[in-house]
């Protein structure tokens, strides 16, 4: 079974530029998550989708970050404009449809973003 795919693996940009990350979840997984992991910290949830609807985006900086999952499969996370403090690893994860029982999240390898 193929895992969660993310691209690019690395990205270097200058501040005020824009950047986009792509994630393809495991086939059949309805729930998709984007996390931000700053160096030395644990992952922080940015946004969670259930199919193509947003379940939780309470920690997404909406003035500069946006995400979409138009067809309920793959997803794109965008930052515009980027700031120095956005330097981090952006992790995508997916799980089976959420419900009354917990479903394990499977993580992709992440995209390491460096903002200069």
């Amino acid at each position: 079974e193929a895992g969660v795919a993310q691209s690019p693996r690395y990205k270097i940009i200058e501040k005020r530029q824009s950047v986009a990350f792509w994630c393809n979840p495991i086939s059949g997984h309805a729930t998709l998550y984007w996390y931000q992991q700053i160096l030395g910290q644990g992952p922080k949830l940015l946004i969670q989708f259930q199919n193509n609807g947003v379940v939780d985006d309470s920690q997404l900086p909406k003035d500069r970050f946006s995400a979409e999952r138009l067809k309920g499969v793959d997803s794109t996370l965008k930052i515009q404009p980027a700031k120095l403090e956005d330097s981090a690893v952006y992790l995508c994860a997916s799980s089976l449809a959420s419900g009354n029982s917990y479903n394990e999240q499977f993580f992709g390898p992440g995209t390491r973003l460096t903002v200069l």
Binding site: L45, A93, P109
Partner: protein
């Protein structure tokens, strides 16, 4: 809201020695508890999880963890560490019966293994 702390930022052990990584959580009831491992340049992999029942849970790669309600802890242990265990370890907590499988991660403990 739930939260989790990992008191040790970095731990160094010798290969073959035993290991214990500490995790404390805050939640009003019995939470879901997890340990993840992250090797350099890779995503997170689930080592083990606790939902209910037996408070000693076994995971992959020879790891185990014990849930202690009285101490609000979920410490990870391994009797004999291998050099390949060097990685970042994250404890995470989830809230049962809330929507959508949300988990909160701790800050992580970095493990170094001396040959």
């Amino acid at each position: 809201a739930q939260s989790v702390t990992q008191p040790d930022i970095h731990i160094t052990v010798s290969e073959g020695a035993s290991l214990e990584l500490r995790c404390n959580y805050s939640y009003g009831a019995t939470p879901y508890l997890f340990w993840y491992v992250q090797s350099p340049g890779q995503g997170l992999q689930l080592l083990l999880k606790y939902f209910s029942g037996d408070t000693l849970v076994q995971g992959i790669k020879g790891f185990e963890a014990e849930f202690k309600r009285s101490q609000s802890s979920f410490n990870l242990r391994k009797p004999s560490v291998h050099w390949s265990d060097a990685a970042e370890y994250f404890c995470a907590v989830g809230a049962p019966k809330t929507s959508y499988d949300k988990v909160i991660f701790g800050p992580g403990t970095s493990l170094s293994v001396i040959p």
